[in-house]
Point group: D2
Chain length 353, copies 4
């Protein structure tokens, strides 16, 4: 079977490069177009970006590809992955959706729109059906499917089995986030070497609004958000890749730490579906008292699993634990690619492809 041609919008940034790495040898997809912003259009890929992927050779054999403008005329494919920033995403992604492409977007622009799926396949695969309403609403033959903010993705991977098994009433999360989340050049070394920055613009608001949508239920034409209080503190720490999150959570029925661990270990909603990017074990539950640790754990399973440890009693919420996940893989490019794999399996590509 021939592979589906895909476009990567904004292929030159940190997340764009992660898309390229995930797609260059993908069994279902084949990279047709790489796009860039105006000042890099027409350049070779190797000229248009500082390369940040450390696996494989630089540019992964695509260094000579010519960067295209981010328009459907120049760079249409039936499946599009978007690593655009929020503002250009708001303009550009609908053009591709209207032209018939299914856009899998890492941008924040449409995440909270009522007819746009905010999707992590293990967490809320049912939400993908919102695309059918989106098409009706907007008159598009394609559509837009978003993945959440990286911090939220990691968080909800740990919370989804608890929501399913017990029900969640309140979530308190303090993050220690990697600098790769800010892109390149992103965070200045003068600000972060040997330090902590207790602020990431818009990040706490994203956690607090996206988590209830993700944990919510598909209610016909929209999502009924989970009725759960969420409070987030977001911090930047001198780590390259991987967000560590200290989570306190109030669950219905006040289950024990052992019950929580058991539910997390047993959770594997994508088992047997054969999605190429789905990790065999979505949550690794660590027994060692000092794990997970970002440098030692974040690279397992290509960054697609998350790591939970220190599940214990919380005097205020009942349960607390640490969760760790890759922000650019599971929290960005990898999630979008997995979303696309789910959409292909669900036969959501526009008919005319």
């Amino acid at each position: 079977m021939s592979r589906i041609p895909v476009t990567v919008l904004g292929a030159t940034g940190v997340v764009g490069q992660k898309f390229v790495r995930r797609l260059v040898d993908h069994p279902l997809f084949e990279i047709r177009h790489l796009t860039a912003s105006d000042r890099n259009v027409g350049k070779r890929y190797a000229e248009g970006c500082a390369w940040h992927v450390t696996e494989g050779e630089p540019y992964l054999g695509l260094g000579d590809r010519i960067l295209q403008p981010s328009t459907p005329d120049a760079a249409f494919s039936p499946v599009v992955f978007s690593a655009l920033d929020t503002a250009p995403a708001r303009e550009i992604e609908p053009l591709f959706a209207q032209a018939g492409a299914l856009v899998f977007s890492n941008a924040a622009a449409f995440r909270m729109d009522s007819d746009v799926p905010l999707l992590v396949p293990e967490v809320n695969a049912a939400h993908l059906d919102l695309v059918r309403f989106q098409r009706a609403n907007r008159g598009w033959s394609g559509g837009i499917v978003t993945n959440p903010n990286c911090t939220v993705t990691v968080l909800t991977m740990a919370l989804a089995p608890l929501q399913a098994a017990f029900g969640i009433e309140a979530i308190h999360m303090t993050s220690m986030q990697a600098v790769s989340g800010a892109g390149y050049p992103g965070v200045s070394s003068l600000d972060i070497l040997g330090s902590v920055i207790p602020f990431i613009r818009n990040e706490e608001a994203k956690v607090e609004e996206e988590a209830p949508k993700l944990l919510g239920t598909f209610a016909g034409a929209c999502i009924d958000p989970a009725r759960v209080g969420v409070s987030a503190h977001c911090n930047r720490v001198p780590v390259i890749e991987g967000h560590t999150e200290s989570v306190s959570v109030r669950l219905k029925g006040d289950p024990s730490p052992e019950a929580v661990a058991e539910v997390m270990r047993a959770w594997n909603p994508l088992a047997g579906l054969g999605l190429p990017s789905a990790p065999a074990v979505p949550i690794h539950v660590h027994d060692a008292e000092d794990r997970p640790q970002v440098r030692k754990d974040v690279g397992r399973d290509g960054g697609m699993s998350v790591h939970v440890g220190r599940i214990r009693r919380c005097a205020l919420f009942g349960i607390k634990f640490t969760v760790l996940g890759s922000n650019t893989e599971r929290g960005a490019a990898g999630c979008s690619v997995l979303n696309a794999e789910l959409a292909i399996m669900r036969d959501l590509l526009a008919r005319e492809i």
Copy 2:
């Protein structure tokens, strides 16, 4: 007036060295003895330790002092500062107290004893009077006064004005702690470079038990602990000096962030007492949205003030903010020295000195 001779117990470690730096030019105190564990007794101070203080010349002119054993016979002074570890502190500090010394201890050994003050002068100066009951209880002419765990000290500095002005109902704190808190050699670089360790042994329990005692009220012969729920997540980050804490707090009457900031700015319970180590401003309240930052802020006022920023609404607790303070200065040696200054002012030295 002549200065009071003092002994530093465990002068070779990270905190012991900070004691030495604070005492070497102190207007009230004069270093008489430096003690060490058996393998270093009899050595010159410069031979007995790797020097970690970065201000001034190495060993601060005391490199030729001979290290003494940690016994009252060898190293008595009327005022003693203890940088011992918990286990030796439990044996050694009472010997000095019985011999008539007032021991200001950074160790955890006696902090939670009902007749031992756990003291931060700005927070709970009234607790110092417990020493009189301790002397009666134990038949000591001296006594033991402890300072809290470093994380708790920084936390309660920010909370004390809120307890006084509003009353606190619940405290949730996630720390990002510096490696100097683990002493030397302490944390291996292989574990912490570019990483986060979500575990510090016993640290969360200390926060959860010491904070209510500190925020409690002096009730005659003991402390009535504050009736406040406390939950802590303690993390190690690649920072040399300075603990950053993300705090959520539930206050009576649900005051606004502006009211909280105003109370913190106005708070200065030691103003006018003339204690040499008291900072002019105990809490610096930052307006910049991305402060406090440990590398940029922790060194102000010799590390004796704390820094609060990002005071804002919390969906779960009402108020959240970030507090930063020096773990080895305000959180250890500096707090003990300030405790001693307060005790001198309160005329608590044993009579026979």
Copy 3:
């Protein structure tokens, strides 16, 4: 064909774990014994060490293996890999050699012995024949083959093609070395975070004495060392894995930087031999003006290749460049395993196996 059983001496340390990772799925070798020092003998592998390998699952499926004592009686295999420290290596490795094992050692104990090969297969494969003289000299049926100090290995990988093509007269090298080279716990975070330590015990002497032996010629029963002046400055920097070296070199005939680059690119002495651990390209010559960079480049080819960049004129030596390589892979475990592969191919195993 069945795989050759192997023993890893000192399997619990940083380098020992790297041996295990390289051997666990090796086409020629099969792990039979893992040994440890006395305090860990009898424990399960997972209990006997803090795990540092970040690829794959912790302990790689060998967590239940029982750690053996480092004696031929308890842990003989025909091929032995030694990650012992120098002092125990001096005692233990000869016992295995005498018992008939071919010991591939990362330790410094025997590197400079006149009848012991100091081997990097791409650099001086001919030196391996010293083993035959060693057997005669010492009456061993096995033997000892050492790999060099990690810094020297990386350095000589870059220099070997220049020695072959031009001849080297003088080498000046300044290293910036990773903390993993010091083992675990090794370098304290208090010493290295945000800092540089301009000293690594014995390291400069090793560079200055091992490099001439490696670049020397096999002269019958011994190695005629290269007549080349060597001076080294060795520094520790806050990097986890990978040594960066600033090299100035005086070559016969004063070739141009372009000629040097061409010789390095063309160099591939193991091409076609089919050694499983040999990298397809031993030296990657970078054109980008700011490469190689340790975080971005050191992981290529499983750490078995080295990276050279910034080849340019030197006002004092003629040529200068930067070379980067993995200290625990190419500079330690990987080199020993490659040495063993070469020895198997050369049919050097003791007859009685």
Copy 4:
């Protein structure tokens, strides 16, 4: 005596802020004007820059000063300190010199001009007299005095006593430089966390051309550069402040390491002159085998002294050692201020002031 009014050109950057810190309480100088580039002119100082100085309160009491344009009309003072980048410095500094100001510049623009002093007072105070020729040549009543590149300043502080006592024939230097040398935002954290960048644009050329001028002799109307070969490797490491340099040097007469150390310890050419910014000891010679270390040593003497350690035999050059110094203090702002103090003492201010 009233203080001399001064202007800081480019007061908003990392070095500009260091000028402000050094001048805000200076006994000879008083800050009159702070200038900025166009987009910040007219703003308050506190609005016009991200503050990087960690000593004292933010903005040091000058937060309300209005930023001026960098023109003599708007911001003339008899003494001017320039933290401008090279390109604007080339345009702006001559305007101030022509208007009668003595400009002390940290910029590279005029350093190698034959009639411009490249000055480190301890190293080559005699070169300051070039200003008189400069005035004659250019018809200026003021003048321009430059300080060297930070790496060169630290290097020549260590070499000047050796040039005076023995004579230097060749210098080989490999630097490990702090990120503050690149300004703000400067080096991206994604490039430098846990890594080394073996390239700093133009840095090696500056070292190789500035060092001979600094170590040269004043020959009437110009400087006769030292006849010394220089080769530099410049690397960036994850350090905030302080350049560490591994130096090999060939000296006439091949003195011993002990003789070199003795000459360095005895060297103090500014002793007794009473220059406020001159350190009491310009070179601290360390005996400990693992010093100097940037985090532990760079802050002494306000960053105005340099630290030398590990003086030992070099197989190729005769002597090798490590030198460490502050790049933004001794290597930039502090050196310029010391230059100005020397010029005042030498009565070099334009008459009309």
